[in-house]
């Protein structure tokens, strides 16, 4: 398939419309000089990915991303920024000097190149069959609670552990009087 054929499909234009901002936002996350802006660019990237999920017919995952990621994780990030007294204005110290950035960039480009080349060679022009029904959430629910019920429970335990761990880790130290016992 050629670029021309690919561009002739309307879905691909939608794809490009959603994918490009996502990608640009992620680049901005890693290169912005303002901490808060970096986190907000992360929001955009995640929102973009959620929209892309909707395109693929995985609406449950998409809305979960919106709820969990953008709703809670981002808040955590912002709290983290606040508590660590990160400089809220532009700052040049947010990234390593160029001497460290160059090899990292090289590495990333290599990785992308390798994967991309492998994928293109393997998959060529195969298409994705989009689903027919409007929502597949019910079936996902059924699948979670039948086939994937044990990992589901395990994940809930993991979340519990993370909850407790977070509380324990972030506790203030004991009062000085008690400490000197």
């Amino acid at each position: 398939m050629t670029i021309g054929d690919w561009l002739s499909e309307a879905a691909n234009w939608l794809f490009l419309f959603l994918a490009v901002p996502t990608l640009v936002a992620s680049v901005m996350v890693v290169s912005s000089r303002n901490v808060v802006r970096a986190v907000l660019y992360l929001v955009i990237a995640l929102a973009g990915s959620a929209a892309l999920f909707l395109m693929l017919g995985a609406e449950f995952v998409g809305w979960t991303i919106v709820l969990v990621y953008i709703g809670a994780v981002i808040i955590l990030f912002l709290i983290g920024i606040m508590i660590t007294r990160a400089p809220l204005t532009k700052s040049v110290d947010l990234s390593h000097p160029i001497s460290a950035r160059a090899p990292a960039a090289l590495l990333s480009v290599l990785l992308f190149g390798l994967v991309g080349w492998a994928v293109v060679v393997s998959f060529g022009s195969e298409t994705i069959p989009l689903p027919d029904e409007a929502t597949r959430t019910g079936e996902i629910g059924v699948s979670i609670f039948t086939t994937w019920v044990i990992p589901f429970e395990v994940v809930s335990f993991v979340l519990l552990a993370a909850l407790i761990g977070g509380i324990v880790l972030a506790r203030r130290d004991e009062a000085p009087a008690e400490q000197q016992r």
């Binding site: 090899p103 590495l107 994967v115």
Partner: protein, 705 residues
């Protein structure tokens, strides 16, 4: 005495003619179980050694019970022997050397029964006595263990049917003698005495080994009965080597029976406790040499095999008899007198065997055991009372110790040969045999023996009279308070006195021949003369001689010879103080030229000391050491030196090469670590970068290949 073929055949014919004399019963079960006689004391000796301390009588009970068992069994065997005659021999093969069989066994015939009886009865009485004598001794249990070991060893010796077992028993009694003489080893003199006994016996033992080897090799067997059978059957080379074998064996016997010149150990052996002197050095151990010659009598009585050995035996016996008796005159220690007396009497026994008087010699051995051990035990009783061995500390003890006195007197009478006590009969029989030999088969040795025996009888009477006078009569010169010994010591004295008084009656020539019947039950006939009546000529000569000796001794040393010096004591002469005896002089008889020689024991001890002992201990020992260290040890030293060098080079290799590998491994690891740690500065992002770089590389490899 050379032998001609005619005489050889005469002997053979005689032996065949007298073959029926040796018909005797085989002793049945009694003889079959006679192995218990040596085994029981040996086992009991070890039991006492390990368990004696915990037993009620501290080992004395076990020892005396063992000896009592031997005495009873020996008595039963003696009675059976007198009734039926027993000649039995049992052997068990325990190994082989080439064609020679090594056997352990026991002989039951008249001779060995005699010894069983002696060791058992006299030993039992001496053990009973020793309970009182050794009371309070620090090594009481050990004493009885060693004493029982001696009894066992002696019984092994006398029941031996072959040379090997005989030598085992010989050595056992030698060792026990050493242990017991050195019982009071806190004093160096006692240790020296024990060493002297052991070493002198060792010299003789070497000769015994040589003789035994020659005889066994000539005959092709160790066993006595086989040797004799082959000897008479003409299958041995003993006709050529017999003289040397017999001489060597006789030297061995000389050592054990303290004949001149190997007598030097016996007087010193008096350093041991008196029971030891009584049993070992009077009655049993020293008679082992006499026993040996008696056991080999078929060999010694046939001059075609033993050559002129008999002459040598008689001469040595006679010399011992007289010259040792002379030494007894000058001793102050009562036990030494008795020791020299023992040596002298042993000379009698040896000479008797030399002239072919088998029964007479053994009879004297038997009676001597009783009266000599009686005398020793009596001396022990005296020593116990006055706490001194020396007669210069004694005197007038007859008042304080009546039982000891009377038993000692009986023993003395037996020893000097007063009718009707034991010594009279046994000594007279020996001298009669010698006289018979001298008159029928004239030879210098026999006459020599007769003359010296008569002189010896005089000397014996003389010194015993001296002993009795100085000890029991006159004034008491010691410091202790003498008292009679307890019953446990006096009862054995009385028992032995009975023996000394009566055993002579066993063999009155012409009247009783009990003893003769007893000892002549043996496998081979003995060619000897049996007297039908006493030789009255000899009695007529000897009895006055003996009485003269007693009389002169009594006059010279008795109470009438004491010089009492009176006077006042102290510096200030107090006229009113009564005069009293302050000093008593006695025992002053001296023969000016003779006595110094006697007191120095003929300088033989000095000769041995300076001629043999000092050179050996000094230069010879040093030379031997040098040879051993340098010549004999050269090979091991060389091997050790080489090994050391090899070890040193191995060590070098080990340090450098082997350890080098490990050092290199360690150093390279360290170096690699130091190099690699530069890549891990602790910054996580760097770690992530590196790991992802690895991922990329692997992915690339996967994809491409």
């Amino acid at each position: 005495m050379s032998i001609s073929l005619a005489e050889l055949s005469r002997v053979a014919v005689f032996l065949q003619e007298h073959a029926e004399e040796v018909q005797a019963g085989d002793g049945g079960g009694l003889a079959a179980y006679a192995w218990l006689i040596p085994v029981v004391p040996m086992v009991v000796a070890f039991l006492i050694l390990f368990f004696g301390k915990y037993s009620p009588w501290k080992g004395w009970g076990m020892a005396t019970a063992a000896l009592g068992f031997v005495a009873v069994y020996g008595a039963v065997l003696a009675v059976a022997n007198l009734r039926d005659g027993i000649v039995a021999e049992f052997s068990v093969n325990v190994g082989d050397i080439g064609t020679f069989a090594i056997e352990w066994g026991w002989v039951v015939d008249g001779l060995s029964i005699l010894m069983f009886f002696l060791v058992g009865v006299v030993g039992f009485l001496v053990f009973v006595y020793a309970k009182g004598y050794m009371r309070g001794d620090a090594r009481y249990t050990w004493f009885f263990a060693a004493f029982t070991l001696f009894a066992g060893g002696m019984l092994v010796l006398v029941s031996a049917p072959n040379f090997i077992q005989l030598i085992v028993g010989w050595e056992l009694v030698g060792v026990s003698s050493y242990l017991l003489i050195g019982h009071y080893w806190e004093d160096m003199d006692n240790i020296d005495a024990a060493n002297k006994a052991f070493m002198t016996n060792k010299v003789a033992d070497a000769a015994l080994f040589i003789g035994a080897i020659i005889m066994s090799l000539s005959a092709g067997s160790f066993q006595f009965s086989e040797i004799f059978a082959r000897m008479i059957g003409g299958e041995t080379t003993l006709a050529q080597f017999g003289f040397w074998a017999g001489l060597a064996i006789f030297i061995g016997a000389m050592g054990k029976s303290a004949q001149f010149p190997l007598h030097v150990w016996l007087p010193d052996a008096m350093a041991g406790p008196t029971p030891v002197s009584a049993l070992m050095h009077a009655a049993t151990m020293v008679t082992a040499g006499v026993y040996l010659i008696a056991r080999l009598f078929p060999f010694y009585q046939l001059p075609d095999f033993s050559g002129s050995l008999n002459t040598i035996i008689v001469i040595i016996g006679a010399i011992t008899l007289l010259f040792m008796g002379l030494l007894a005159i000058v001793q102050d220690d009562i036990k030494r007198v008795l020791a020299y007396s023992t040596v002298s009497q042993l000379g009698y026994m040896v000479a008797a065997l030399g002239v072919g008087a088998y029964t007479a010699g053994l009879f004297h051995l038997f009676t001597h055991a009783f009266f000599k051990s009686l005398l020793f035990l009596g001396a022990g009783s005296i020593i116990h009372a006055v706490h001194s061995n020396n007669m210069s500390d004694m005197g007038g003890l007859r008042k304080y110790m009546p039982v000891t006195f009377w038993t000692f007197l009986i023993g003395t009478a037996a020893l000097v040969g007063i009718f009707p006590f034991a010594g009279f009969w046994s000594k007279d029989e020996i001298i009669s045999s010698a006289y018979f030999n001298a008159t029928n088969d004239p030879e210098f040795a026999a006459w020599f023996m007769v003359v010296l025996s008569i002189l010896g009888a005089f000397i014996t009477a003389f010194y015993m009279a001296r002993v009795v006078s100085l000890t029991f009569f006159g004034t008491y010169l010691g410091d202790a308070k003498p008292h009679e010994s307890p019953a446990i010591m006096t009862v054995p004295l009385v028992a032995l006195a009975v023996g000394a008084a009566t055993t002579g009656l066993l063999n009155i020539p012409g009247l009783t021949a009990v003893f003769t019947d007893w000892v002549t039950t043996r496998a081979f006939p003995i060619v000897e003369h049996h007297f039908a009546q006493p030789e009255y000529i000899l009695i007529a000569i000897i009895t006055p001689v003996v009485l003269l000796g007693l009389f002169i001794g009594w006059r010279l040393f008795g109470p009438s010879a004491e010089l009492h010096h009176t006077g006042t004591s102290g510096e200030a002469a107090d006229v009113s103080a009564p005069e009293r005896t302050v000093a008593v002089e006695r025992d002053t008889f001296r023969i000016p030229a003779l006595y110094p020689v006697l007191e120095n024991k003929y300088y033989i001890d000095d000769l041995y000391m300076n001629g043999i002992v000092r050179p050996t201990m000094g230069p010879i020992a040093a030379a031997t050491l040098w040879v051993d260290m340098n010549v004999v040890d050269a090979v091991p030293n060389l091997a050790a030196g080489v090994a050391k060098q090899a070890a040193a080079s191995v060590a070098v290799i080990d340090d450098n090469a082997v350890d080098g590998v490990y050092n290199l491994a360690g150093a390279s690891t360290g170096a690699t670590g130091s190099f690699l740690r530069q890549f891990f500065p602790g910054r996580v992002q760097q770690y992530v970068a590196l790991s992802f770089a690895g991922v990329v590389i692997f992915a690339a490899l996967f994809v491409i290949f």
